[in-house]
Subunit: 357 residues, 2 copies
DNA sequence: ATGAAAGCGCTAACAC
DNA sequence: GTGTTAGCGCTTTCAT
C-alpha cells in the first residue's frame, strides 16, 4: 500500500557513510561537523526525499515549545473571547506535541498596557508569537524586536502594512465590505434612499481594518448601475450613550437611511437597541460575528445579517502554522484568507452547533 | 507548566505490583491474565487518569489501519469528486499514524454495482468504513454485515433511518430547505407568485435527502404570514433533455414561478441554460454546492445563491472520527452537523480560495 | 569532530 | 499467566 519504506536518519547515515549523530547535526545545524562530512550528507539529502518522523521526533525529545498569543483583553470587547476559544481548541490539538500556549492581554485604549503586555510576553521567551495587530504603528517596535530575535510571528484579524509576519490569517476586509453592501442591497429597496456605514469610533480601532471594509462597502454601491443609492458614513466618537443616540437618530432621519453596515462586532447591539426604542424598524442591518448578543438580535429579527469572521478559527489556524514551523520547519502560506460567512436567522443555529476544527 | 508528569504504563505496573506486559494485556484485553492480576491493575486504572501516549503507541506498533470510503462514482456526478478531495486531505493528515485510506465506487443507478463494490470493500478487510448511504433500504444488508463483523462505520451526506452508524456527518437537511426558501424569499418578490422546488428526478436519488429539503422548503413558506406565496414542486423524470425543457417552461409559465429551489447540485446548470435560452431572466435560483459549473453560474448572475454542503470536509471529519476511534478508542459524537453555508457572488471566491482543514 | 549508546512510552515477541 | 526485552525513529549525552 505505502510506497517504499519511509527513509530514516539511519538510512541517510548509511548512504553517506557517516553516523546518525552526524546526520542529525547536519540536519539541525547543531554541533560541529567537518566540511567533508557536511557535503556528503547534504548530497544525499538533496537526492532523496527525507521527511522526519514527527512521532519519533517529539517522543525522543524533551523540548517544550511555547507559543504566545497577544490580543486585546476580552473583558473590554467580547469579540476577543472568541479567539480564546480557538486557543483552547489548539491546546487540545497540540498537547501531545509538547506545545505550551499562553495568552497575553492588553487594554484596547491603553498603549501603556500594550507596552507592558508585550514586555511580559518577551520575558516569557516564547518560540513563536500569534498576534492581533491592533496598535499599528505604535506596535511596530514590538514586531521589530521579534524580527531581531528571530522569533517567528503570525498576524490575524487585520493585515497591516510595513510588517512582514510569517503569515496573515483572516478575511479579505475589502471584500468583506463589499459583501456587507450586497447583503444590504438585498435586504432593502435602496433606491432613492441612503445606506450608511456606522463607525462607533473607539479611537484606536478606527483604523486599517475598518477603512478597508468601508472602501469595499462604498465600491460595491458605486459599481451598481441599477439604482440610485447614496452612501454615507455616520461617525460617532466618544463613549457617551446619550449623544450616540441623538446623533444616530438625527442622521437616519436626515438622510433617510434604510441600511446600516456596522463593521465592528459590538456595535450592532447598541444600534439595534436605539432603533427599537425609537421605533425605526424598517432598517436593514448587517453586523459582524457570532457574539451571543448578535445571535439574539438576528433571531429576534432586529438585525438581518451577520458576517462571521471566525476569530476562533483564525487563532486555531495561526497556531497550526506556527506549530508546523517549529516542529517540522514547514513554511506557512503568506496569507490564509478565510471564507466570508453569511449568517442569517435560518442558518445561525447550524453555525453555533458546529465546532472548531 | 504541565501538571504532574504524565502517567506511563510503567507507573501503573509499579503501582499495581505487576509488570508492564500484564498492564498492557489488561488494557487491551489481549493475552491471558489471572483474575487477581486483572483486579489489581483495574483498581489502579480506576483511581488514576491514564491516557496512553499516542506517539509512543503508533511508533511502537506496526499495525496499519485501513479505512474504506464507499461513494458513488464521481464520473457520474461531479458532486462526489468533492468528497474525494476530502479523502486526499485526510491521507496527508493521517499518513504519520499508519492509516491507509481507500475509496470504493459504485454506479448511482445500478444496484448491482453497489453490491459488487461493497463486496470488494469487504474483501479488503477494512478496520472501519465511511459511507454515503445512497441506496437506502437496498443497502441495509451491507450495514448489517458491518454490524455483525463489528466494523465501525460512519455515514455522511444523508442521514437514513433504521441504521445506527457510529456517527452521522452532514447538514440538517430540513433546515437546509428552510434556508433555501428564505434565500428565495429574499431574492424575489414572491407575493402572488409561485416558488418551486425542482426535482430532476434521477430515480434512486429521489429519496430521504431531497424529501427532507422539500419539507423544510415548504414549511418555511407556510410559516410566513406576510405574503401570499404558492409553493409547487416540479418533478421531471427521465433523462430526456427535450422533454425536460418543455416541461419546465410549461410549469414556469403556467404557475408564474418566480423562484426555483434546486436541491441537487448538478441540476442548476441544466436549469439555468434552459432559462437563458428561453429568455426567462427574472427568476431567483438557489442551488447547491461549489461545483465549478455552479460557481460560474453564480458569477454570471444566472443563479443567485448556492448552499454549500462541504462534502470534502464531511469526508475529512468522518475519517477523523474513525481514526480517533481506531487509534484512541475515542467515541465520535452521534451527529456532527455542519454549518449551512450561504454562497453569493460576493463571497464565492473567498470560499474557493480557502482550503480544507 | 564523530560515533556509540541510552533513552522517550509503547507494542509484541519471547522466555519461563 | 507473567515478566523481560528488543525494537519503533529520533534526540541527546558521553566517550573518543
Amino acid at each position: 500500500m505505502e510506497k517504499n519504506k519511509m527513509i530514516r536518519i539511519k538510512d541517510i547515515a548509511k548512504l553517506s557513510g557517516v553516523s546518525v549523530g552526524t546526520v542529525d547535526r547536519v540536519i539541525h545545524k547543531r554541533g560541529k561537523v567537518s566540511e567533508a562530512a557536511r557535503q556528503k550528507v547534504e548530497k544525499v539529502l538533496k537526492e532523496i526525499d527525507y521527511t522526519p518522523n514527527l512521532l519519533a521526533k517529539t517522543l525522543g525529545s524533551s523540548k517544550v515549545y511555547k507559543i504566545a498569543l497577544l490580543v486585546p483583553n476580552p473583558k473590554q470587547d467580547p469579540y476577543w473571547n472568541l479567539s480564546l476559544q480557538g486557543l483552547e481548541a489548539s491546546k487540545v490539538e497540540w498537547r501531545p506535541y509538547h506545545m505550551v500556549l499562553e495568552p497575553h492581554f492588553f487594554e484596547l485604549h491603553d498603549f501603556g498596557s500594550f507596552k507592558s503586555a508585550s514586555k511580559k510576553l518577551m520575558d516569557s521567551k516564547p518560540d513563536a508569537v500569534l498576534s492581533a495587530p491592533i496598535f499599528l504603528n505604535e506596535a511596530l517596535e514590538f514586531f521589530k524586536e521579534l524580527d531581531e530575535l528571530n522569533i517567528p510571528y503570525v498576524h490575524f484579524n487585520t493585515m497591516i502594512p510595513d510588517v512582514s509576519p510569517l503569515a496573515f490569517i483572516g478575511q479579505d476586509l475589502y471584500q468583506s465590505g463589499r459583501l456587507g453592501a450586497s447583503l444590504i442591497n438585498l435586504g432593502t429597496d435602496c433606491n432613492n434612499n441612503t445606506v450608511s456605514i456606522l463607525h462607533v469610533s473607539e479611537s484606536i480601532q478606527f483604523s486599517v481594518h475598518f477603512k478597508e471594509k468601508e472602501r469595499g462597502f462604498r465600491d460595491y454601491f458605486s459599481s451598481l448601475n441599477n439604482g440610485i443609492v447614496t452612501v454615507s458614513s455616520v461617525i460617532i466618537e466618544g463613549d457617551d450613550m446619550k449623544s450616540f443616540e441623538s446623533k444616530l437618530i438625527e442622521a437616519i432621519k436626515k438622510d433617510k437611511i434604510k441600511g446600516l453596515f456596522i463593521p465592528t462586532s459590538s456595535g450592532a447591539k447598541l444600534t439595534a437597541e436605539i432603533l427599537r426604542k425609537n421605533k425605526l424598524s424598517d432598517m436593514c442591518i448587517v453586523g459582524y460575528d457570532l457574539l451571543e448578543e448578535n445571535v439574539e438580535l438576528l433571531k429576534s429579527g432586529d438585525i438581518n445579517f451577520l458576517i462571521n469572521q471566525n476569530p476562533n478559527r483564525q487563532v486555531f489556524r495561526g497556531i497550526h502554522h506556527l506549530a508546523n514551523l517549529l516542529l517540522f520547519n514547514k513554511q506557512a502560506p503568506e496569507k490564509e484568507l478565510f471564507p466570508l460567512e453569511v449568517i442569517t436567522r435560518e442558518n445561525v443555529d447550524s453555525y453555533i452547533k458546529s465546532t472548531i476544527h
